[in-house]
Amino acid sequence: MNKIIPQFFTMVVPLGESGLRFFEQIFGVTSLFFQALYELRKIWFYRRQVVEQCYSVGVGSIGLILVVSAFTGMVTAVQAAYQMEPYYPKYTVGALILQSVVLELGPVLTALVLAGRVGAGTAAEIGTMKVSEQVDALESLALNPVGYLAMPRLIAGFVMIPALTIISDTVAVIAGYTVAINTIDMTALEFVKGMRMYFHLHDVIVGMMKAFCFGGMITLIGTYMGLTAKNGAKGVGTATTLSVVTSAVLILILDYVVAQVFL
């Protein structure tokens, strides 16, 4: 008996601890989110950082997004043609490309790619600052890390990632169109007819809503993981990995939730 109880605890306590850490993280991310919102009142004070972050997230990611979305559009066209051709009129290819890109592929693939580029970059940069006392240095200079680091990145995520998604949608549809009319025996007119028949503003709104949620979440999680990094270089590595994995999983979960609620 005397031995069983400690053994029981050594087995159960780690489980409890990781559960506790999970809730601690949810609480931490949520509270960082609200603190960052509160710092919005100082947006003029931190305007340089906001512009810098928007530039780095937006302009910095364009090349990557162009490549990813062009190929997404192209493969969608090929696959749509393959799936639809025997059973449906050709113009449905246009409809299928438009809807799947606007609703799903544009926002989700942009977000997943940016979880890698922006989320990991944010976590690594802020994590390095944290473990090398640069975050403390900000505090010592009477600069609030939430205002200086988190808020501008949150804005960049909320604004620039939807903007990139619009670009991605456009490029993917154009790429899909090009492939469709060149490799499948299909006219431009048919493609456009399909797109027009199945265009719903509602889809665009739902797609952009997804992009907006993903965008804020990617930079928020990256910032949170960075700010809570500890134990030197290894800790920064962990923070970076955690940021990408958490964002990727949450993107897919959120994607489902938004789809279920609004479609």
Binding site: E125, M129, A137, L141, L143
Partner: protein, 247 residues
């Protein structure tokens, strides 16, 4: 004046301060000595409110900063310059931008006055030509000097140094010590230096205190400490291999 008023602090059961009482005298350089892991960094971080005590007060110019609202705390921090152990320069910015940052964020100075102010600080620390370099391009000693320049740029009343000579070769360390003395004399700041380096303490300290076991074991002028037979001081001195075994 900085005052620690019966301060208690522990991290997960690890007691760091146990009824710490200490007054930092104004206008001179105070050295807080102590072995590694005794809470010297915590001491400095507590002064600017980065770490809060569990119990007790920290007074800055007759104002208790424990649980002070962020807005007021930040205003108090503007009177402080903090030189971190690893310098903590922002590595995405050049040295010039590092030093200019506090001015850009907190003052209405135009580019020209920022430029002249930053250059004044750069020349004080002998880095006139390094403004365009990035932290990774500097040696340890240069980084430390740049960090001192950044801490000084807003003419603080207090300047806090966390182990300013640790990890530097003796010549570079001596240079930093001279700089600490020069800053103290030219700017009339109140300096607090925490270190485990006796030679350094002896060179820069006008007032010296020994932190062990969560409180100040002994404090006084270097001469007073030289003559003291305080047991903990003797133990600390004996633990550290040193040519000159006295303060």
């Amino acid at each position: 004046m900085i005052t620690f008023d019966h301060v208690y602090k522990r991290f997960n059961g690890n007691v760091v301060f146990n009824d710490l009482v200490f007054d930092v005298p104004d206008g001179i350089t105070t050295v807080l000595l102590g072995p590694s892991g005794t809470g010297k960094s915590v001491f400095l971080k507590m002064i600017i409110g980065l770490i809060s005590p569990d119990y007790g007060y920290v007074w800055i110019d007759d104002r208790n900063i424990v649980n002070l609202k962020t807005k007021y705390l930040y205003r108090i921090r503007e009177q402080f310059g903090f030189v971190f152990q690893l310098s903590a320069l922002f590595d995405s910015m050049s040295i010039y931008e590092n030093i200019a940052l506090p001015l850009k964020m907190h003052t209405q100075f135009n580019e020209e006055s920022i430029y002249s102010k930053v250059n004044e600080c750069l020349s004080l620390v002998d880095l006139e030509d390094a403004g365009h370099l990035y932290p990774e391009e500097l040696s340890g000693g240069m980084k430390k000097r740049a960090a001192i320049a950044r801490a000084l740029v807003r003419d603080p009343k207090y300047i806090l140094y966390d182990e300013p000579t640790t990890g530097l070769d003796p010549r570079t360390a001596a240079k930093i010590e001279n700089l600490i003395i020069k800053v103290q004399q030219e700017r009339k700041v109140t300096s607090v230096v925490v270190t485990h380096d006796l030679t350094s303490a002896r060179r820069v300290g006008q007032y010296v205190a020994l932190l062990t076991g969560g409180r100040i074991a002994i404090e006084g002028s270097p001469e007073e400490l030289d003559e003291s037979a305080n047991q903990e001081l003797r133990r600390f001195l004996n633990e550290i291999p040193q040519n000159e075994s006295l303060l």
